[in-house]
């Protein structure tokens, strides 16, 4: 595929359940980011992966949130024991060589998570 893809596009879950959100970045992009967009809010940084380096987890709002990136490609964002305040659109972005020069981040369409 030419762009960043995310799945599922929509996820409805019950409070207390765990959810997994998937991101397939653009092939060859070494950097991958997760952001959260709450209703009527801007985008909030969650976590950043760059190559084989330890991820920057400084934006994760609580220890219920975790993410991994396997083989330097696909990433999964996991939210455990979901709460209603976790309802948001979760966006994934990828870019190439972000620490060397200014590189555009390409965003996926997002996963809309609704916690009932």
């Amino acid at each position: 595929g030419a762009g960043v893809s995310q799945s599922p596009s929509n996820k409805v879950t019950e409070k207390g359940k765990d959810v997994e959100l998937r991101c397939d970045p653009i092939s060859g992009h070494t950097a991958l980011y997760w952001y959260r967009q709450s209703l009527g809010q801007g985008l909030e940084f969650l976590i950043y992966f760059q190559g084989n380096s330890a991820p920057d987890k400084s934006g994760l709002p609580s220890d219920r949130f975790s993410a991994e990136r396997t083989g330097g490609s696909v990433s999964t964002l996991t939210i455990q024991r979901t709460q209603q305040e976790d309802s948001a659109v979760y966006l994934c972005a990828s870019s190439s060589s972000p620490t060397v020069t200014y590189n555009e981040q390409f965003f996926g369409p997002g996963t809309r998570l609704t916690v009932l």
Partner: protein, 113 residues
């Protein structure tokens, strides 16, 4: 603490008019300032960006004006068109910190025909 403040929250202009969106930042370590455009149901897409060593950048109908001393920058959309109706986000980036983006709150632009 909101590091990037964006205004207005919403903006309505007539076709052919000028749309102006403003952003102010606090962290002087930011070194790249992109604007993203987002249509409903889509992810944001880069529209135009500027580095702090220039005061203005123009691409077609879109212009960024940058004031480093005031820590402010703005997006100007000339000859606004209905197809420009979208949400616009300013962002700030620090390349040495992995280019994570710090976004403003967004501006909902509506261009009436």
């Amino acid at each position: 603490q909101q590091q990037v403040k964006q205004s207005p929250q919403s903006l309505i202009v007539q076709k052919g008019g000028i749309s102006i969106i403003n952003c102010a930042y606090e962290n002087t370590a930011f070194d790249y300032f992109p604007w993203y455009q987002q249509f409903p149901g889509k992810g944001p897409a880069l529209l135009i960006a500027i580095r702090p060593d220039v005061s203005e950048k123009k691409e077609g109908r879109f212009t960024i004006s940058f004031n480093k001393s005031a820590k402010q920058f703005s997006l100007h959309i000339m000859d606004s068109q209905p197809g420009d109706s979208a949400t616009y986000f300013c962002a700030c980036e620090q390349v040495t910190s992995g280019s994570r983006l710090t976004f403003g709150e967004g501006t909902q632009l509506t261009v009436n025909p």
